[in-house]
Symmetry: C2
């Protein structure tokens, strides 16, 4: 995963690793006494006592009962500890071009609360971050969730998100303050919550969530999301592909109209300039159709609108066709609400790709719209934090650097 | 890897697996006594005696000396066995559109002999196969190589080579008898040599050889080969990508000239119709330039020829640009003799791709021509048989089905 911004200390790292092991034992086995925990994780009783004291203080675990009822020998009954079901331990955040989604997961990886807040496309990063903080505060207050044992924060952002420290997107590209996002989002969240932060492209995180929600046997998948922008991601050989410098998946910035309209990335005629939802709405209005919203775009019945949708899908199909010819996926998944609302998009994309590929059955991927809705980025950010999927085998481990805040 | 055509018997399979383990021990450790072999592979002395008797009979191993000199205890000195350096154990064959390459490797994976034979593009498969057999006979006679302990045969073929049994290329597509190749090449070689055969796309095998010969740290590589056809292959996350149905890499059949010339695959305007060597030669002649060979194409100094090379490289660059935007490789390698002879191709391809990608350093792959020459397909077929590279982690193991011929 991309970035991890926390001051590091060897002592804190060891302590955090021990905490992780204890929490994992409680997640997998349910309530345990301190002695049972010590045997399960292979640490001394003294060390376990220190760790569980910290975890109790911060609210990650609670005392549920004692083993008095089941105890065979004599002596004082031992307390049994369990994970605190109100403890928000993982925070997933997805910053889109026009909205932020948040999902909060408990120690057992279950989502405790989720929600979203809309903002304007021109909103700067400080305001976007503040909007996310307010949303998180509201959600946690409503559900009685506390963050005293937060283990990690995963954040999806729009636009390419290079992993290296080489010069990247210029200030202003990909919407207001893209470069600032890379530099500041992680620091802002780390300072606010005192937990490790990782940032990645939000379409890649959405593809991770979609792959985990779908058919686990789909090992070679091209995922595309049509939303306020156009993003893409690849699962190849059962692994989510980050690319050499973390930039894999930028299907939205493939040139499909040479000399076409200027894209927010600075190039001309990118797929995003014809197949994003705003681009499709604008094309409808230019051609005299009266549509203003996603629902109208999908359901107008106006032949001009259908033509715009087909043209966008043909452009998508040409780009996907090249990728499919070279990657040979078994499945192409089209995400974003418009793909579900307007079946003509999946149908036309499949037809255009089919005309590009060899005409044999073995060459053709299946086409379908995504199972998950637009909050899949936040869910994917959580999945990336859980680290439990082999899809993440090629992703660098996001090293936990800081222990629970003192 | 793709196909494996041998009648199977459980007993023969077990015997072959044991033989493999003994051969591997001798390859890794040099000469060993039967007792040392038994300890090294964890089989009984009785089983090892049987296996080594078979291996000696078939000429895979020879008796080199006894342990009399180094022996501490009393008793009869034990024979020490070693691999027979004249034993051809792996056979790599690469059928191109106009020539076949052969490479023969010994038990230590060293190439004992290699060579090539030219044929006409219109030659049918029975004649191609016969040409290969004659070449193998000549090479083995010249070098005193025998095939009594042949372990496997790897064969590269041009054109897409689907792994599934679903309907594939129609008869006649991709040159004379492509479909026949899929059905008959493996059987012909298995019957002739009595060893397991695997068949795969020859550009993918060439990419494997190139990756193994080059910088092992290059984990995300797009490989393209410009030759009588245009092929491609991908290494992603350190793994050679077969694709969902074994069809990954067909960059040569991406449409780059909509409505363009008919390609041998049946589609129109494929990259192969403008960037293969025969296509470039034809374009030069159409424009009045007088070139007939690869050398003339590369060294004519004629501005018409340079323009043809640049146009071909621009078409290549547009297709590579899409793939690079989505897969974010660190390196693009262009193979085929023309790429080495005419530096303008690598240069122009890099320029065209550079204009497509984001203009930041982190987005740009390095461009270079291949290190290996056109016999890399046969070398790659051997590498695929050796199975020693992590690049092959996503390839199904080519199960050895038959023991040494009795």
């Amino acid at each position: 995963m991309s970035d991890m911004r926390m001051p590091g200390e060897a002592h804190a790292l060891v302590r955090h690793t021990h905490q992780e092991r204890v929490l994992r034992a409680l997640r997998e086995r349910g309530a345990l006494s301190r002695g049972e925990i010590a045997r399960a994780v292979g640490l001394s009783r003294t060390t376990i006592s220190e760790i569980t004291r910290d975890l109790l203080e911060h609210g990650a675990v609670v005392v549920v009962d004692t083993d008095a009822a089941s105890r065979a020998g004599s002596g004082r009954p031992a307390e049994r500890l369990a994970l605190d079901p109100n403890s928000g331990q993982f925070l997933g955040v997805d910053f889109g071009h026009r909205r932020v989604h948040v999902a909060i997961a408990d120690p057992a990886h279950e989502v405790l609360a989720s929600g979203r807040q809309i903002y304007d496309d021109s909103t700067g990063w400080p305001e976007r971050i503040e909007t996310a903080f307010e949303l998180i505060d509201r959600l946690s207050a409503e559900r009685g969730v506390h963050f005293r044992a937060l283990q990690g924060i995963g954040i999806g952002v729009t636009g390419p998100h290079p992993r290296s420290s080489a010069p990247h997107a210029p200030e202003g590209a990909f919407g207001p303050g893209f470069a600032a996002a890379r530099d500041d989002v992680d620091v802002s969240f780390a300072e606010r919550f005192g937990a490790p932060v990782m940032v990645d492209n939000n379409t890649r995180l959405a593809a991770l969530a979609e792959a985990l929600a779908g058919d686990a046997s789909a090992e070679n998948v091209l995922y595309v999301r049509l939303s306020d922008g156009v993003g893409g991601a690849l699962v190849i050989g059962g692994r989510l592909v980050p690319g050499a410098t973390g930039l894999a998946g930028e299907l939205g910035h493939v040139t499909v109209v040479p000399g076409g309209a200027r894209c927010r990335c600075g190039k001309d005629g990118c797929l995003e300039t014809v197949a994003s939802v705003p681009a499709m709405l604008a094309a409808c209005r230019q051609r005299g159709a009266d549509v203003d919203s996603l629902d109208e775009l999908a359901n107008s019945g106006d032949p001009v609108v259908e033509q715009v949708l087909r043209d966008a899908a043909r452009a998508l199909g040409r780009a996907v066709g090249v990728v499919a010819m070279v990657f040979n996926p078994s499945e192409v998944v089209i995400g974003g609400d418009i793909a579900r609302l307007a079946p003509v998009i999946v149908e036309q994309t499949g037809d255009t790709v089919g005309a590009e590929l060899f005409p044999w059955v073995a060459a053709k991927p299946a086409f379908r719209c995504a199972r998950l809705a637009d909050d899949d980025g936040a869910t994917g950010a959580l999945a990336a934090l859980f680290r439990s999927s082999p899809l993440l085998a090629d992703y660098p481990e996001p090293a936990p650097i800081r222990a629970l805040p003192a």
